[in-house]
Structure formats: structure tokens, C-alpha cells
């Protein structure tokens, strides 16, 4: 421990200027951290500090003076980890706490998020950066490696990763845990044995495997896992999904290339006081002579259930040729939908015109104007609550489709502030309603005896297709 402290103090002295610059940035962040570019600057400064500190005793190479000095490997590693915890994470945590206090969030309620945020930054950001720094000799190779890894990951994620937002946390957590394990192992190998080539090779292979799993694992794995661990499967037993063409909801439309077919699903059997949201939807169309499955996003269920029934609107895009060919053929629609039931509402009435007011579930809400309009804004720290959030008696809807069911109290994001806004609210006060997810489950459905024409608006008697419907 003595040697750990000794090396730590040396690093403090070595990086005195950089640390002073970093702390200054953190101070600015604590005072004005709502802006993204400040938090990004702090992130870059923090990670730069980590890299410089690791490179003070670079591991690769055979010319460093310290290699033949009585450094104990674990003391050296301990000093580096202590530096990350004390000089990087602690000030960041204090800045986030100061931000929370400045914005009037109740600190006691934010402690889990605050602590988890530091744990995440230490393990999921600083540790991988330290591991990468431990297998590179200088800043230029490090930056090159970061660029390669970032470009690969971003390209892969935007091209191949299609997990629905509510369950993204599962893949993120698995990939994050794998990255942490790989980073910790590489750091241990490097500091204990200094086998750089071996560490680079094994690290690259393991990281690539983790990334490949993250990118290419089917979304159904995460959805099934979410369903498997659902706490109240009994709540879902009465829920049924059926296809009910309804000209009053949405109707088919086609141009020369594409036909858009709204598939109105009805979710029935929902208990009183509950709401249902779709996390993922799969539909296939079967005609006597062919089958076809479209790529779909989850359908939307924007309205509260009426008489235990909620509407779930899905929109299918198909080629106009296919539409024309099968328009009148007998059709069976099959599919399944992953649903989440929300309930146990909490309500709190808050004035809107007095600035941000604390509501339940770590939310602060207020009305504000920007872009020439009036909006109702709600914000929270460290993560958006995994709840449905409404403002009662208004149309305000705070991004229900992008909530996450993650059980963790914070996301990996240095800027802890999450803000969402909803449509114009002119009231002086509003009742904020939150409902928590009670059960996640999958519902299969099948409806035969249909035709694509059933999804079209009914033609006015004797006039052919309705105006606006162009079936060519």
C-alpha cells in the first residue's frame, strides 16, 4: 500500500497541470453541465488524464527506466486505479451531486444513481481506456486504436444492431460486462506479465467476439429474456391479440412502387387501470400460393384501453406489385407481439409556471417555451424512469416508446440530465401520472379469412375506390 500511495503521489505531481485543467473543466461542468459540449469536453479530458497516467509507466517496450526498478506490479496497478477513482471519478461524482443540488433534485433520492454512475464510469469507461492505454506505447497509437474501435463499433451498431429500445439495456449490459471483463483481464496480464503481444491478440479476439454477439444476436433473445424474468406472468394470462380491420382507424394506401397497409391489432383482456405497450412486433402474410414477412418496428399503442381493449397500430410496407397481385386473394395474418403491461399509477399535481418542480420517480416538470411554442418539459437525473409518464388531462406524452426497462439506476452518460418534452400545455398546473411496468410477455395471434381489400377504406357506393386510395 505504501508503494501504491508513493506512485500515486508521483502521478499527481507528474500530471499537476493536466489535473488542474481537468478540475477546472469539472467545475464548469458542475455549473453549466446541462450543455452537452461541456460534458463531452469533460469526458475527453477525463479519459486523456487516464491515458497520460497509464503512459507515465508505459507497459509495452523495453526501454522504460521503471522496468528494472523494484516496482511491485500490483502496487503499480493499484496506484493507477486509485488515481482513476480519486482524481477522475470522485470530482465527477461531486460535480454531478452539485448539479443535482443546484437543480433542486432531492439528493437522497439520487444517491443510487449518483453512485451507480460513478461505478459505470470507472468500470465501463475508464477501465477499458486504461486497458487500451496499457497495450499502447504512446498517445498516437492509442488514438489510432480508439478510432479503429470506435468506427467499427459505431458502423456495426448503426448497420446491424436492431434491438428495440426498451430491451436494449440487456445487450448493452452483456456487452458492457464483457468489455469490463476483457479490460480487467488485459490490465492484469499487462501489469503482472507485460505480455503485450499476447494481451493485444487475446483482447482483440475477445472484444471482437463480444462486439459480434452484441451486433448480431437476434433481438428476440433480449425480448425472451425480458419475458422470462417478468415478475407477474399471471397478469398477462387474459390478454389476447387479434387482427380487426377497421376503416375508422387507418386504411391502405398505394403509389406506383409501394403499398402501405395498416394492420389494426386489438389487444383485449386488459385489466382495469392498466395500459399496454408494444415492445416488438412480427407479422407474416400468408396467401394460398405464397408467404411474406415484412420488416417491422414495434407497433404503437398510443391510447389508454377502453373496455379492456387497446388498439395496436402496425404499418406494413409492401411492393405495389405484390399488393396488386394478392389484393383479393384469401389472406391469413399471423404474428406475435412482445407487450408490456403498465399499472399501479402514481399521481402528483404540480404547478407548471413556477419553474422545475419535483414530481414522483425523480422527475422534475415545468412548462417552457422554445422554437416559438409552449412545451411541457420533464427532466430526471442519471436515467429516464422506466415508467410511462403522462400529464393527466393533456395530450402530453413523454417518449413512451423509448423508455428502458433497465433495473439499473443510471446510464453510462457523464451528463446526468435527461430531458423530454411534450406537446404544448397551456395549463397552470398538471397532474403527472407515472405507471410502472408490471409484466412483460409475448402474445401470438392468427387471423384467417381476410383479404387486403379489408384494410382499404370502404368505397362510396357505386363510385369505386375511395378518394385518396390509389390501387393501380
Amino acid at each position: 500500500m505504501k508503494q501504491t500511495i508513493h506512485i500515486f503521489r508521483k502521478d499527481l505531481r507528474f500530471l499537476l497541470l493536466e489535473i488542474a485543467g481537468f478540475l477546472l473543466l469539472v467545475l464548469v461542468f458542475a455549473m453549466t453541465g446541462e450543455t452537452d459540449y461541456v460534458s463531452e469536453a469533460v469526458e475527453i479530458a477525463a479519459l486523456y488524464l487516464v491515458v497520460r497516467m497509464i503512459h507515465a509507466e508505459a507497459i509495452p517496450g523495453d526501454r522504460q527506466y521503471w522496468l528494472t526498478r523494484p516496482y511491485r506490479p500490483m502496487s503499480l496497478l493499484g496506484a493507477k486505479l486509485l488515481f482513476i477513482a480519486a482524481i477522475v471519478c470522485l470530482p465527477l461524482g461531486m460535480a454531478q451531486a452539485a448539479m443535482a443540488a443546484r437543480m433542486g433534485f432531492p439528493l437522497a433520492g439520487e444517491i443510487p444513481g449518483l453512485l451507480w454512475s460513478q461505478v459505470l464510469f470507472f468500470f465501463a469507461a475508464a477501465l477499458p481506456v486504461a486497458a487500451l492505454a496499457a497495450v499502447t506505447e504512446g498517445l498516437v497509437p492509442f488514438v489510432s486504436a480508439v478510432l479503429v474501435l470506435t468506427i467499427t463499433a459505431v458502423f456495426g451498431a448503426t448497420t446491424f444492431h436492431h434491438t428495440p429500445p426498451p430491451v436494449e439495456w440487456i445487450g448493452d449490459s452483456i456487452f458492457g460486462a464483457a468489455t469490463i471483463c476483457i479490460s480487467a483481464t488485459v490490465l492484469l496480464w499487462q501489469y503482472r506479465d507485460r505480455r503485450t503481444l499476447f494481451s493485444r491478440l487475446c483482447g482483440t479476439i475477445a472484444y471482437s467476439a463480444a462486439l459480434a454477439f452484441y451486433l448480431f444476436a437476434p433481438a428476440s433473445l433480449a425480448l425472451n429474456a425480458q419475458t422470462w424474468f417478468s415478475k407477474n406472468p399471471g397478469l398477462a394470462s387474459a390478454v389476447r391479440v387479434s387482427v380487426k380491420p377497421d376503416p375508422n382507424r387507418a386504411t391502405a394506401w398505394s403509389d406506383t412502387k409501394t403499398a402501405r397497409v395498416p394492420v389494426p391489432l386489438t389487444v383485449g383482456g386488459i385489466s382495469e387501470g392498466m395500459e399496454v405497450r408494444s415492445d416488438s412486433l412480427s407479422i407474416s402474410f400468408a396467401w394460398p400460393d405464397r408467404k411474406w414477412s415484412p420488416a417491422l418496428n414495434s407497433g404503437t399503442t398510443p391510447h389508454e384501453p377502453v373496455n379492456g381493449e387497446a388498439a395496436l397500430d402496425a404499418l406494413v410496407h409492401m411492393s405495389a406489385g405484390l399488393y396488386r397481385a394478392e389484393r383479393t386473394s384469401p389472406l391469413t395474418v399471423r404474428g406475435f407481439v412482445y407487450l408490456t403491461l403498465f399499472g399501479e399509477p402514481e399521481r402528483r399535481m404540480i404547478p407548471l409556471k413556477l419553474g422545475p418542480m419535483n414530481a414522483q420517480d425523480g422527475l422534475q416538470c415545468f412548462s417552457g417555451g422554445f422554437l416559438g411554442g409552449d412545451y411541457m418539459l420533464c427532466r430526471s437525473l442519471f436515467r429516464w424512469p422506466g415508467r410511462l409518464v403522462h400529464a393527466k388531462d393533456t395530450v402530453a406524452d413523454f417518449g413512451d416508446s423509448t423508455i428502458s426497462y433497465s433495473p439499473f439506476p443510471a446510464e453510462l452518460n457523464l451528463n446526468p440530465l435527461q430531458i423530454r418534452w411534450a406537446e404544448s400545455v397551456h395549463a397552470d398546473e398538471a397532474t403527472i401520472v407515472t405507471k410502472r411496468p408490471l409484466a412483460h410477455f409475448r402474445c401470438d395471434f392468427e387471423q384467417g379469412g381476410l383479404r387486403l381489400t379489408d384494410f382499404e377504406p370502404p368505397p362510396p357506393p357505386g363510385l369505386g375506390p375511395a378518394p385518396g386510395v390509389h390501387i393501380k
Binding site: 508503494q3 507528474f14 507515465a56 523495453d62 526501454r63 528494472t68 526498478r69 523494484p70 516496482y71 505480455r195
Partner: protein
């Protein structure tokens, strides 16, 4: 007692054999000079012994411990100075010494102060602001201050001016009574005044390893005046190096000198020999002979 023992020590970089089956013993208390031209494998050998590089074959024992297991406890007794060592340039000389002090239980502060004075090192100057020679001195001072049992120096004199070399040698000699010293160099003049033992490496192989006395005894420049002109015969002994013959004058280096045997052999080969003279060779000449001969014994 053996301070360093290498058995078949080898190091290969990709497909290049930098070190091939090095067998070496360095006795405790000796000053061992490892000589050889650039690229001979001296630095690789030393770095492998110091556990900076991992051997690809064989093993080395340093102060009785497997070199691959050398750790903090062992380096408390080992000093290492190298010409191309990356130093923490941001540290002042004084802070460098103060920083290293807690690492060594045997650190002698009085000795450290004395060394800084002896080497005329500016305490408040940053290491990156020092000349190469001064930096080497700082490195040596920091390695002598804890009175190591073994001091290993890799090309410590190369490119230094004579005054700095002299200072370094002085410093080394002063600690020689309590420290085994291994020094690699191709600066032969200094080594000759310093070393008790010498080894010669070429192309990753150790060509010989022996005491300076034995080496001086073994090598002789032989000048022969023949009765009549002659050519170099087919059965020329392998230990007679770099033969030169003008009509009746023959000159070569005998690397396994034995006056009687050399006499007898010359008479057998050439018959009439008018005159033979044997001249002792300085280390520099022996080194050059070996280097030009390609390291063959």
C-alpha cells in the same frame, strides 16, 4: 559464487535469432565486459537477463534466481543503466533520487548526496534538460546509491565525452569492491582499464568468455621471417587468425598462443624459419581481429 549464469539462452524476434544458445557465467565480485560489434546481441542478452525481454529458449539465473521471475525484491539488489533507457524527463535530479529512495531498503542517503556531488549533477535541473552524459550519470548515481549487489550497464560510455566517461568509470570502480558489474560496450579503451573478465559476442553467439589475464596470454601477434617465400598452406590452424604473407614475411594473430607449440607448428609448415617474434596485443586489437575475422575462434 556465480552472480549470473546463462544456459543456452536464446531470443528470437520473429524469424531473426538475436541471441543463440548463450552460455555464460559471471563470478560474484568480477567486472565483466561483454564486447561485440553493434547488433551482436549484447543488449538483447542483457535485457533477457534482466527480465525485460522474455527468452525464447534456455534460461538465465541472476543472483540465484530465474531471470523470468525477477521481481521487485530482486531489483532492490540490482542496478541497471542503459544508454537508451527512457527516463522520466519531467523529474528534477533531486526529485528523481527522492522518488526512487523509498523503493530501496538499502538506500544510502549520504552516498546519494556524495554521488550527486561527485558527478556534479545539478539537483534542480529536469532530466530532460540534461545532456546525455549527465543523464547517464544521474542514472548511475540512482543505481549506486543503494549499493546494489549487481550493477548491469548496457553501453554506458557510447557517445560520451572523455571527462564524463572518466567520471562514470570512477564511480563504477568505487563501488566495484561490493558489487558485481556487467558492462556491455564497444568502447575498448575504457573496458581494458575496468574489466577483470571479458566475453566477446558476434551474431548472437558468445565467441569466448574468460579473464582479461587469460585473454592477454592467449592472443599474440606473430611475425615470422621465412627462409624462403611461401604460400599459406591448406592445413592452416583455425586459431591462427588473419594471416598475411608477403614473399618471406608472415604475420598472423595466434588466438591460442603457446610459444613452443607455435614454433614447432611453423617449422613443420614452412621448414626454414629465420626469425619469430611474439607481441602482446591490446584489447582493442584483439577485438578488431575478432570482429574482422567474423568471431571465429
Amino acid at each position: 559464487m556465480t552472480a549470473i549464469r546463462c544456459e543456452g539462452l536464446s531470443k528470437t524476434y520473429r524469424n531473426v535469432d538475436a541471441l543463440t544458445g548463450l552460455n555464460l557465467e559471471i563470478e560474484t565480485g568480477s567486472i565483466y565486459a561483454l564486447l561485440g560489434p553493434n547488433g551482436a546481441g549484447k543488449s538483447t542478452a542483457i535485457k533477457t537477463m534482466m527480465n525485460i525481454l522474455r527468452p525464447t529458449g534456455g534460461r538465465a539465473e541472476v543472483l540465484g534466481r530465474d531471470s523470468r521471475k525477477l521481481g521487485a525484491k530482486d531489483f532492490e539488489r540490482i542496478g541497471y543503466v542503459s544508454e537508451n533507457m527512457t527516463m522520466p524527463g519531467w523529474m528534477t535530479v533531486e526529485y528523481f533520487m527522492a522518488y526512487l529512495k523509498p523503493f530501496y531498503p538499502s538506500w544510502d542517503e549520504a552516498r546519494a548526496v556524495e554521488l550527486l556531488k561527485q558527478f556534479d549533477l545539478p539537483r534542480d535541473r529536469k532530466l530532460k534538460q540534461l545532456s546525455r552524459g549527465m543523464c547517464m550519470k544521474a542514472s548511475l548515481a540512482s543505481s549506486l546509491a543503494y549499493r546494489p549487489s549487481l550493477l548491469v550497464m548496457d553501453e554506458p560510455f557510447s557517445g560520451l565525452d572523455p571527462v564524463v566517461r572518466d567520471d562514470l568509470i570512477q564511480g563504477i570502480l568505487e563501488s566495484a569492491d561490493e558489487t558485481t558489474i556487467l558492462v556491455s560496450s564497444h568502447d575498448l579503451a575504457e573496458i581494458e582499464t575496468l574489466a577483470t573478465h571479458v566475453g566477446y559476442m558476434e551474431s548472437g553467439r558468445l565467441c569466448f568468455s574468460e579473464s582479461m589475464e587469460s585473454l592477454a596470454e592467449r592472443f599474440r601477434m606473430v611475425d615470422v621471417t621465412l627462409e624462403q617465400p611461401a604460400a599459406i598452406p591448406q592445413d592452416w590452424p583455425a586459431q591462427w587468425l588473419r594471416p598475411e604473407v608477403s614473399p618471406a614475411l608472415l604475420r598472423f594473430v595466434d588466438s591460442g598462443f603457446n610459444a613452443e607449440r607455435t614454433h614447432a607448428e611453423l617449422r613443420r609448415m614452412f621448414g626454414g624459419v629465420r626469425d619469430i617474434s611474439f607481441t602482446a596485443m591490446p584489447l582493442r586489437t584483439i577485438f578488431l581481429t575478432m570482429a574482422r575475422h567474423g568471431g571465429q575462434r
